[in-house]
């Protein structure tokens, strides 16, 4: 039985100089066979395993991860959480996640530092104003909190924004979702890993998948760097590498993998207490609890798995940031990195069965999957356990690219692609 984290356990462990904390998850060797295997130990994969064990009573399962858990896009995103998407299907999906976020620290007994500091989306031209007002109305019809702000209200909510009308792209207004915010991304992976491990899930790190073994139209197992693992159900949650796994299994996906960059500044005292995003000039910024400004840049337009992006992408974002926030002009950037994101043609994810029995894909989250981590795990677990999608992810099937029933969220996805 796992020790519960509490003020008392903190005090007790302080007495022994914090040298006797129980390890948060085991490091097992893979068994010969599992009821289900999740490929990919990021937030979405670990959440899937957690909910499979918790809600669907599937404890004989494993998560295989080629690196270390949370070392991919889970540890590389800008930690923004919101649900202000345009279409009904997306509203249902992302708000389902947001509702789980609101109680996640208590549920996992792990502080994911979820902070509902609000997310503001800026409008810089007349079309932006129209689009954002439309999206605000759509959100409210779907029960998602959203308000439209004029320029003065934007300035009042975030005083450091330059709302002067003589800049290249003046701020004409914006939307605000107050329930939105940020969370500590590493803690999300660790919290789910600890929770899943406690229920008996094997979390196998440094185990790369090399092949998918099929028997006709059914899966039989996976070839890995730690040997063959037999299983009848495989959930692929491999983000930027989804196509690599799909190519092994002979499944066609509509994805393109591209580098997306982010950067953080040196830490400073609290200066921005919300998240501000701007599609038109491509600048978004928030401040971490350590004091670093967390800045999201854009994607490169070419396919690449190199986990590094082009310099001009960062430069373009910083130009926009400096025009909107002249106060940052003397700040120095500390670190910059890239992650590989799997972009769908309609900027919406795929949580779906495939033509192969027992093979499920959770991918296509593109530039904004972190916000959906708990909801994605919950719904994907439902899809795997019942071999049927939940009504909230039914629209996000692979067949929509054949039927034409796309969920176009390019406007709400925030990163232009």
């Amino acid at each position: 039985m796992r020790n519960k984290y509490s003020i008392f356990s903190l005090f007790k462990n302080a007495l022994s100089y914090h040298e006797n904390w129980q390890r948060a998850w085991k490091d097992p060797a893979p068994k010969k066979e599992y009821d289900a295997v999740i490929i990919g130990g990021g937030g979405h994969g670990l959440a899937t395993a957690y909910y499979l064990a918790k809600k669907h009573n599937m404890q004989n399962i494993a998560v295989v991860e080629k690196g270390w858990i949370g070392g991919g896009n889970t540890g590389r995103n800008t930690t923004i959480i919101r649900s202000n998407y345009l279409w009904d299907a997306s509203a249902g999906l992302y708000d389902h996640a947001l509702k789980i976020w609101e109680g996640l620290s208590q549920e996992l007994n792990y502080n994911v530092m979820f902070s509902q500091r609000g997310v503001m989306n800026l409008a810089h031209n007349l079309q932006d104003v129209r689009d954002l007002k439309r999206r605000t109305h759509a959100n409210r019809l779907n029960g998602i909190d959203a308000v439209y702000l004029n320029t003065e209200e934007v300035k009042k909510f975030c005083p450091i924004i330059n709302t002067s009308q003589d800049i290249r792209y003046p701020v004409l207004g914006g939307t605000l979702q107050k329930r939105a915010g940020t969370a500590r991304h590493d803690a999300v992976a660790w919290g789910y890993a600890r929770g899943a491990d406690e229920m008996g899930v094997d979390i196998i790190q440094n185990c790369e998948v090399k092949g998918i073994k099929r028997n006709g139209d059914e899966v039989e197992g996976i070839e890995t760097t730690k040997g063959f693992i037999k299983t009848k159900k495989i959930g692929v949650v491999a983000a930027g590498h989804s196509s690599v796994i799909a190519n092994m299994a002979g499944v066609r996906l509509p994805l393109e993998s591209k580098p997306l960059q982010a950067l953080v500044s040196e830490p400073v005292k609290p200066i921005i207490d919300t998240v501000v995003m701007s599609n038109a000039v491509h600048a978004y910024v928030s401040q971490s609890d350590k004091g670093e400004l967390v800045i999201g840049a854009g994607t490169d337009d070419y396919i690449s798995y190199s986990q590094k992006g082009s310099h001009q992408i960062v430069e373009g974002t910083l130009n926009a940031i400096l025009e909107l926030y002249p106060i940052f002009s003397r700040m120095r950037m500390l670190r910059q990195w890239g992650g590989i994101v799997d972009i769908c043609p309609d900027a919406s994810p795929i949580l779906s069965k495939t033509s192969i029995k027992g093979l499920y894909f959770n991918c296509g989250w593109g530039t904004g999957g972190f916000k959906a981590t708990p909801g994605s795990g919950d719904l994907f677990a439902h899809t795997i356990a019942n071999d049927e999608p939940h009504k909230l992810n039914a629209a996000f099937n692979l067949n929509r690219f054949v039927s034409g029933d796309l969920v176009d969220e390019h406007g709400a996805a925030a990163v232009a692609h």
Partner: protein, 91 residues
């Protein structure tokens, strides 16, 4: 960020170019005969290879001509550049 040797202009910075995605996807000869599955295949499904991939590029801020490239997407190394209509080089 890398340098691209445009077959018409010579070596230029990658920011002058626009990536056009996977190459050698043939436009259907009889569009009216296509099933929904075949349309989905043509319009949306991509190999998205990690490794050497054939792709189209356009020198958007230069000669504006299209050409093909064989590039290793795992490290962005360009293996070959060849003109439109030419056969891809052997691996």
């Amino acid at each position: 960020m890398f340098l691209i040797n445009c077959p018409y202009c010579g070596e230029r910075d990658q920011q002058e170019f626009k990536a056009g995605g996977e190459a050698h996807i043939e436009r259907p000869k009889q569009p009216t005969e296509l099933s929904d599955d075949q349309w989905a295949e043509y319009l949306f499904m991509r190999k998205n290879i990690k490794g050497v991939q054939f792709e189209r590029w356009n020198h958007a801020h230069g000669c504006r001509k299209w050409f093909n490239m064989a590039r290793d997407t795992s490290n962005d190394e360009i293996k070959a550049i060849y003109k439109m209509g030419e056969k891809p080089p052997p691996q």
